[in-house]
């Protein structure tokens, strides 16, 4: 069976010929408020309507991969923090599990549970930012502050367990850097109780606001097969109705022990795969994360979380591609070891990079304001796009 290739652009421009005017080239970014950092998009516009959008990236390239080849295995971990700097825990986790699988290392149970708890907390924190900045992109200011209020509580928890608020360096090969302090478990549970009703508040002020729905529904639709072909992953792919979550479908750590739903977009407000669906997947996923945290804390075993941390990391020669589900999608670490104390190659398959690559395909035919909505709904972090 010969399947057709996906065309470069998904949509025909819907402007009648009689209304077409002269094209204008517009440079959006890298100092534009809604490009979420230093993304530049070269737009060709016909009035308010975009005829082509070409992202230009690399403004935040920090040579992570080159760096990683020149430092020891352990020293890479603080650098992985800085890839997707609003979900550092998940980045740590991906790299570390990759190494553990290469080393065939069993990890202490308590450490595994703590890892899941902090990763899910960080997922909530990251989705909160995605929500808030998305509101900001659409023009609503207040939800941004509300989500930051709640994210602050998560950061406080992180500060208590590992001392840092943004770049944690917490998850180590074989375990975690610190065991949870006394009373931390109760504080996390307290946060879970606090957080559940807050989701309704976000829904009231933003999610179900008619203006917000009008702005986001039926905009920037990514059909499922297009999304898969472009390598879109995570909530952005699930927004297109693809029931795929690495935590369930390619399990790592101890995610297979927890009971949670994989949220997919159903096109409740418009078409399946529109920006509202992607947004909604994030909102609903936070509730699922809370569920996972509750389960993990319920069964939190006693023990020494640093028990299995090896003194020296010796990675046998070989290679492994480890992919984990970060808040942005499938974060892959392709690690090649030659048996020495430094990596031979660490390639990062960055979810934000792949998610962004779909932009030229969905942008033509939408308005400038919609482009902002689409970029926001892909939830890119330029630190990860450019690495």
């Amino acid at each position: 069976m010969k399947k057709s290739n996906i065309p470069e652009s998904q949509f025909e421009l819907q402007v009648p010929d009689s209304l077409k005017t002269e094209e204008m080239t517009l440079s959006m970014g890298p100092q534009h408020p809604s490009t979420h950092g230093v993304l530049q998009v070269i737009l060709k516009t016909d009035g308010e309507i975009i005829t082509s959008a070409k992202p230009q990236i690399g403004y935040l390239h920090r040579c992570f991969e080159k760096h990683a080849e020149n430092i020891t295995w352990h020293q890479v971990i603080p650098f992985t923090d800085r890839l997707d700097y609003i979900a550092s825990m998940n980045n740590n986790l991906g790299y570390v599990i990759g190494l553990e699988r290469m080393m065939n290392l069993e990890v202490n149970e308590r450490a595994e549970h703590l890892r899941v708890v902090v990763s899910e907390l960080n997922r909530i924190a990251s989705h909160l930012i995605a929500l808030g900045t998305y509101g900001l992109d659409i023009g609503a200011y207040t939800p941004f502050l509300y989500v930051f209020r709640d994210r602050e509580k998560i950061l406080d928890l992180f500060e208590e367990i590992c001392g840092a608020r943004l770049l944690y360096n917490y998850i180590w090969v074989g375990g975690v850097a610190y065991d949870a302090p006394d009373g931390w478990r109760e504080k996390v549970l307290e946060f879970c109780d606090y957080f559940d009703p807050k989701v309704k508040e976000y829904n009231d002020i933003l999610t179900f606001n008619k203006i917000f729905i009008e702005r986001t529904a039926n905009v920037g639709v990514i059909p499922a097969e297009v999304g898969i072909n472009y390598g879109v992953s995570g909530p952005s792919l699930r927004g297109s109705g693809v029931d795929f979550d690495l935590r369930r479908d390619d399990p790592y750590s101890i995610y297979d022990r927890f009971d949670f739903n994989v949220i997919t977009g159903k096109g409740e407000m418009g078409t399946v795969g529109d920006t509202w669906d992607r947004y909604w997947v994030r909102v609903a996923e936070m509730v699922e994360s809370v569920k996972i945290i509750r389960q993990a804390l319920e069964n939190l075993p006693e023990g020494d979380a640093k028990e299995t941390v090896p003194r020296n990391i010796k990675v046998p020669a070989g290679e492994y591609y480890m992919r984990t589900e970060t808040p942005r999608g499938e974060l892959g670490f392709y690690i090649i070891s030659d048996g020495s104390k430094m990596p031979n190659r660490v390639k990062v398959r960055s979810p934000a990079f792949c998610n962004l690559s779909v932009l030229p395909a969905v942008a033509p035919g939408v308005m400038i304001a919609d482009l902002v909505a689409i970029i926001g709904s892909l939830d890119i972090v330029l630190g990860e796009v450019d690495r």
Binding site: P78, C162, G163, L167, Y178, P181, I205, F208, N209, K210
Partner: protein, 192 residues
Amino acid sequence: MRQYFKNIYEAIATILVGMGVTWRHLFTRAVTIQYPHVKRTLPERSRMQLFVEMDDCIGCMACERACPVDCIEIKTVRGGKDEDLGQTSNGQKKRLHVVQFDIDMGKCCYCSDCVFPCPTGAIRMTPEYEFITYDRSTLLTKFATYSPEEISELEERERKEKEAQAAAKAAKLKAAEEAKKAAAGTDEPKSE
């Protein structure tokens, strides 16, 4: 037509719901604090400024090796033969003069990787976070207390000791060689 009126109704209703949320928040307590007047007490694990207890440092350079960004620079000089440099707080004997222990907080990435390998707990991260300056060079903290004269003196001594050692070693080698030669010399006729 029905959809038209439904849209208008939904718009008004959801706008009112949203306005209700903001109205409620108008009267809730602010969650922010007035920073310079009110300060949070940070948890003890907070990773802010690095601090080194020089009395505890044995100059093993574990932290320097662990640092991913090379912000620590240590130089040590061996102590004299009979010199007593004291003990660290966990009872380890100090054998080295740590003449230089510089940490450039401007380069530090606050990963705290240097803290864990320290055998004596000399280097640690403190919750002290107010160390902004107008000049980047002032972020370089020098922890060693040795004056330049002391350092050169110590280095001189170390050099001399080394020389002496080397000389002794050379002499020893020479002696050994000579002995060997002598042995060979004595052996030679025998073998002949």
